[in-house]
């Protein structure tokens, strides 16, 4: 079942001389539960693509369908609600609110939805992420790996259909990075959450079901590494 499809995505930054063609008429689709890694040189437009898919940035042209909904056709508020329910974004820099503690950061999308937190689920996730000792800490008091785990926990808590991760390990040492990726993979497998992951690390890229190569705003390679639902 197709969960995500984009058609002719184009993104142009700036005007005149400083015009940058970040995405050039990109099209592809992703099946539900698929784990797609995105690779490419720096400045090739990966982050731009992810932001547009996540609905935090608007394309200059083109369409993004998630679960059949053209998300950029939604009103701003509708899009926000859609985002907090359906999409989990994870960045290289941890994207946590510095004034909220670990629990609060994790529960934020859920709380924004006006719902009560499920204590048990929160406890489970916190424990799973190894953050039990740190629940009442602020992001500034956590290490990089811990912060990244918080932002993954946040992306997982709500069980969004799609996880979008932009170099989540870029800033971490190898073993911590591997740990983060395995957490994401686990979510992908356990909850059938679709995962799009940008990375520079070939090892990580090769763990995906499918690998997209982007160069200069265009998809240069779309390679299936293993069949969907198949074992490693």
């Amino acid at each position: 079942m197709e969960i995500l499809r984009c058609e002719n995505l184009t993104k142009i930054y700036g005007e005149g001389n400083i015009r940058t063609h970040a995405l050039k008429s990109l099209s592809f689709s992703v099946e539900k539960g698929e784990f797609v890694s995105i690779v490419g040189p720096s400045g090739s437009g990966k982050s731009t693509l992810l932001h547009i898919l996540g609905g935090v940035d608007k394309p200059t042209a083109g369409k993004v369908f998630i679960d059949g909904t053209e998300i950029h056709g939604l009103k701003e508020d509708k899009l926000a609600i859609f985002r907090r329910r359906q999409i989990g974004l994870i960045y290289q820099f941890y994207n946590l609110l510095p004034m909220l503690d670990v629990d609060e950061n994790i529960g934020l999308p859920h709380l924004l939805d006006g719902r009560k937190l499920d204590r048990e689920r929160l406890d489970n996730i916190v424990e799973h992420m190894g953050l039990v000792e740190r629940r009442r800490h602020l992001p500034g008091q956590l290490s990089g790996g811990q912060q990244q785990r918080v932002s993954i926990a946040r992306a997982l808590y709500n069980r969004p259909a799609i996880l979008l991760a932009d170099e989540p390990t870029g800033n971490l040492d190898r073993s911590t990075g591997a740990e983060i990726v395995s957490l994401l993979k686990e979510a992908n497998r356990t909850w059938k959450q679709t995962l799009l992951l940008i990375t520079h690390d070939e090892n990580i890229a090769l763990q995906a079901d499918r690998m997209l190569c982007i160069e200069d705003g265009e998809i240069t390679r779309d390679e299936r590494i293993r069949s969907l639902g198949g074992d490693e």
């Binding site: 940035d57 926000a80 985002r83 960045y91 290289q92 609060e104 924004l112 006006g114 500034g140």
Partner: protein, 921 residues
């Protein structure tokens, strides 16, 4: 730039143009305001002195009929800065005159400074330099006199006298205040007209024996004190030891130094001789002979300075604090490569003073412009206030008053303010280590390890975010809090002080002005006092009515305490209020019997206003008056039923009241309509009280009568028709002499048609000459210096509020912008996890509300003691008066601040909406 710290700071300033401009603008505005205070005060005072010196000259005091002895004594006094002698030499024939009503010159002799002090301006030629030289008033040339510079006048000085010729007949010259019985002779002043002799009086010349050959060396502008109707043109010569060794001494005081007893001292030296103080000029130097005025001027100056410096410090301090985080980031980098604390501090000072340097001259320049502009805008107001004091000769242009010394003071206080504002941020930044800077954990104590603290997840997401965000950003929001606080503080303190000051001044004025007549549509009023409404007044009235410059005249009578009524006429409400006032005087609860015992004998007084038929009809219509009763044929009255009883307007001799208490009374009497007011008035002829009952046709409340009068009286007032007044005055007049002290006194209201006549000047001189009998003034003002001050305080404080509000608003705008801008990454994060615009806005609303409430609390904590202190200070100065606490002012200030804060917040939030693009690295 060799210093690397300066270089980096400078680069950073250039990179953050917007912020740099804001800091610059803040400092610039501070300099501007300090300039406004210094230059503005001096310019305004200089202007007011200048205008007021147009009224009576620049001198401070003049002592008349002095001798050499007093001159020497005075010269030794430390408070005298300069003295000038003058004398009247008398009349001389002036054959060159072209006006047969003005055949003389009146020669005055002045020592050099007196010319300037009396505003004598040379028009042509020069001032007299030695004996035998004179200058002549331009008025002579205007009339066509055949005289020019170089001509000579043969002078044989004489005085003029008038002698009454008819036995038993009094001749009255109303404008000169001369009443001449048959056979009496009086010396005439320089203002006296040229009259042909007739059967009732004769004018004589009495030669003094002095002779001179006078050469005309100059023509001067018509002096302000020259009267058109006088028989001689004014001319001035040099002072030299004058006849009889008697002269006048004008002097300037040394106003720079306090001399507490100078007024008393001068009066002692003068003894029984006349002394005049030029209060018009003295008032505006803060040295009026009225101590209340002095106190006010002093108080206002301090008040202004303190508030401005306070607002400026908070503004600049905030500007630096807003850039704190960013600065600490680049300084942290520098620090990590080895910059010392001192170097980091110097970065703040460098930025502050590199902005202060260009801001100083620009600020001073702009300040001067603002002062000029402001003064010119205020000119019409100032002018009309001043003309409430006296009739001004001409418009006076504004001259900026600024000296090198002023610039030095401005530079110094500006620099000091900048330094003071920069010290704290500088010290704070030098304490911050590199890690905190780079990590963005600028708060030494970033809140909490939340152990033990209650989790706020039971709140809604917006509230939770707001709560945590506030706790986290306490330092960042402090600037906003401060900005809001100082804004409210200035609004409240200034408005409340204005209110209290004007209220106190008004209360003080009520002593003399129990009833004020609203006289819209009339230009001037002439009030007659002390039973002067005799023949002299009638003649004056005729002259005024016949003057070509007068379009209409209205006459109104009033008499305070002219009638008496039995005690029981006064109503229950009145007695109850009085009872309570007496309790305060006796410091205990008086029993009814005891209280009534104090009033067993005697009567209550009644005051009367008499108005013309038309006004009476209008008042009857405006009030609760029975038309049928008015036509009954007997004398009728409309009773003013509002009154005031207080510890201020009721004094029990030799007793001090416990405190001030004030009772507003709605029913002064309980008499019904159609009943008789059993009034008696005193008849000197019969030497007893005679009945003069008035039929009560209706009642008027303070509010109903507002259009015509304002009442602040503890006694009963009635309004009657002029006919009734005349009847009463006939009874109250003394036998053979119609000028009795108890009669009702008239006020004439005049409407002018714009034709220029000398009438205004003559009437003005009449008041000047004899304040006890006439007061002539513009009708649209109550003419006291206190009242003028009241209005000026209002305007000045309004300007002050407006100007400082600009700083405060800039401050708020800035702080809120900084606050929102710093939160931009947070907004981006929130958006990425699916917060809607509405949710972020709501979060900001909660935060703003919290910040506002916080600043409200701190403002109230600071302001309330301040207001109480000001109140205490003023009450201490003015005696026991009741001043309401300015709740309304608080409410208004809070309301304005709420609007401003939320307005700015939403504005900035909507401007920063492009934050979505910002959240990658």
């Amino acid at each position: 730039m060799r210093n690397i710290v300066y270089k980096v700071t400078w680069k950073n300033m250039k990179m953050n143009m917007r912020r740099t401009w804001t800091s610059f603008f803040g400092i610039f505005f501070m300099v501007l305001l300090i300039t406004c205070v210094f230059v503005g005060r001096k310019t305004a005072v200089g202007y007011l002195e200048n205008v007021s010196s147009q009224i009576k000259g620049k001198w401070h005091a003049t002592m008349y009929d002095m001798t050499e002895k007093e001159y020497e004594t005075l010269g030794g006094e430390s408070y005298i800065k300069e003295m000038g002698r003058s004398a009247d030499k008398g009349y001389v024939e002036f054959p060159q005159s072209a006006n047969d009503q003005k055949p003389y010159l009146f020669i005055k002799s002045y020592e050099a400074p007196c010319f300037d002090w009396m505003n004598i301006h040379v028009r042509e030629g020069r001032l007299p330099g030695k004996k035998g030289e004179i200058v002549i008033s331009q008025s002579a040339l205007d009339d066509g006199a055949k005289i020019s510079i170089g001509d000579t006048v043969k002078a044989e000085y004489f005085d003029r006298t008038v002698t009454g010729l008819q036995k038993g007949v009094t001749t009255v010259f109303p404008f000169q205040q001369i009443e001449l019985a048959g056979g009496e002779t009086e010396k005439l002043s320089q203002d006296f007209p040229f009259y042909e002799n007739n059967e009732s009086f004769r004018i004589d010349k009495e030669y003094t024996g002095m002779k001179d050959n006078l050469t005309v060396v100059g023509i001067v502008d018509e002096p302000w004190f020259e009267q058109e109707g006088a028989a001689g043109y004014l001319a001035f010569t040099c002072y030299d030891a004058e006849r009889d060794g008697i002269f006048n001494i004008a002097c300037l005081f040394d106003l720079e130094n306090e001399h507490y007893d100078m007024y008393q001292n001068i009066r002692e030296i003068a003894g029984s001789r006349e002394v005049a103080f030029n209060d018009y000029v003295l008032a505006f130097s803060g040295r009026s002979s009225d101590s209340v005025v002095n106190f006010m001027v002093q108080l206002m100056t301090i008040f202004f300075m303190v508030l401005i410096v306070l607002a400026a410090i908070v503004l600049i301090y905030n500007v630096f604090n807003i850039s704190f985080e960013e600065r600490s980031r680049y300084l942290g980098m520098l620090c990590s490569v080895g910059a010392t604390g001192k170097q980091k501090r110097s970065s703040v000072y460098f930025e502050a003073f590199s902005l202060f340097l260009p801001a100083l001259p620009l600020g001073i320049l702009a300040g001067c412009l603002v002062v000029l502009l402001g003064m010119n805008l205020l000119l019409p107001f100032i002018y009309s206030f001043m003309s409430g004091l006296a009739v001004l000769p001409e418009k006076v242009p504004v001259h900026l008053s600024i000296s090198a010394w002023d610039i030095l003071i401005i530079a110094f206080s500006g620099g000091l303010t900048v330094l003071l504002s920069a010290i704290l941020p500088a010290v704070k930044i030098s304490r911050i280590g590199p890690i905190e800077c780079i990590r963005g954990n600028l708060d030494k104590n970033p809140g909490r390890l939340k152990e033990g603290a209650k989790s706020s997840m039971s709140l809604s997401a917006e509230k939770m975010l707001a709560k945590n965000s506030l706790r986290y950003q306490r330092r960042k929001t402090r600037g906003m809090r401060r900005a809001a606080s100082i804004f409210m503080l200035i609004l409240i303190v200034t408005t409340a002080t204005t209110q209290i000051l004007t209220q106190l001044i008004t209360i003080r004025m009520q002593d003399s002005d129990i009833v004020n007549v609203k006289s819209e549509g009339w230009d001037y009023q002439l009030s007659v006092f002390n039973g002067n409404a005799g023949e002299e007044y009638e003649k004056l009235k005729e002259e005024i009515k016949n003057d070509v410059g007068v379009e209409a005249v209205r006459e109104e009578y009033s008499g305070t305490f002219v009638g008496n009524v039995p005690r029981d006429v006064m109503g229950k409400e009145y007695w109850n209020a009085l009872h309570r006032v007496f309790n305060l005087y006796y410091h205990r609860e008086l029993s009814d019997e005891e209280f009534q015992g104090m009033f067993e004998e005697g009567t209550n007084v009644v005051s009367v206003i008499g108005v013309d038929d038309e006004t009476f009809e209008n008042i009857a219509e405006a009030t609760d008056t029975d038309q049928k009763l008015l036509e009954s044929g007997t004398p009728t009255a409309i009773v003013v039923n509002s009154g005031e009883v207080s510890t201020a307007n009721w004094v029990v001799s030799e007793k001090e009241p416990e405190k001030y208490e004030f009772h507003e009374i709605e029913h002064m009497t309980d008499l019904g309509k159609g009943e008789k007011l059993p009034m008696t008035i005193y008849s000197p002829k019969e030497e007893k009280q005679v009945d003069f009952p008035l039929l009560v046709a209706g009642y008027g409340s303070k509010e109903q009568l507002e259009k015509y009068y304002t009442f602040h009286s503890e006694s009963l007032w009635v309004i009657v028709e002029l006919d009734t007044c005349e009847k009463m005055n006939q009874i109250m007049a003394e036998d053979g002499n119609e000028e009795s002290g108890s009669m009702m006194e008239p006020t004439l209201y005049m409407k002018m048609n714009g034709k220029k006549t000398g009438l205004i000047k003559r009437l003005n001189a009449l008041t000047e000459a004899d304040e006890m009998h006439y007061i002539f003034a513009r009708a649209d003002r109550v003419k006291t210096i206190s009242d003028t001050l009241c209005s000026m305080i209002r305007i000045l404080l309004l300007c002050f509020v407006l100007l400082t509000s600009v700083i405060c608003l800039l401050n708020l705008y800035n702080s809120i912008h900084g606050w929102i801008a710093e939160q931009k990454p947070h907004f981006a994060m929130l958006v990425s996890v699916g917060a809607t615009q509405e949710q972020i806005r709501r979060m900001l609303m909660y935060e703003t509300l919290q910040i506002f409430l916080g600043s409200c609390v701190s403002t109230l904590l600071i302001v309330t003691p301040l207001i109480l202190a000001v109140r205490y200070l003023l009450i201490d100065q003015f005696g026991a008066v009741r001043i309401g606490f300015p709740w309304l002012v608080y409410a208004a200030a809070i309301f304005i601040t709420v609007i401003v804060i939320f307005g700015f917040m939403l504005y900035h939030y909507h401007r920063e909406k492009d934050y979505r693009l910002q959240f990658t690295g």
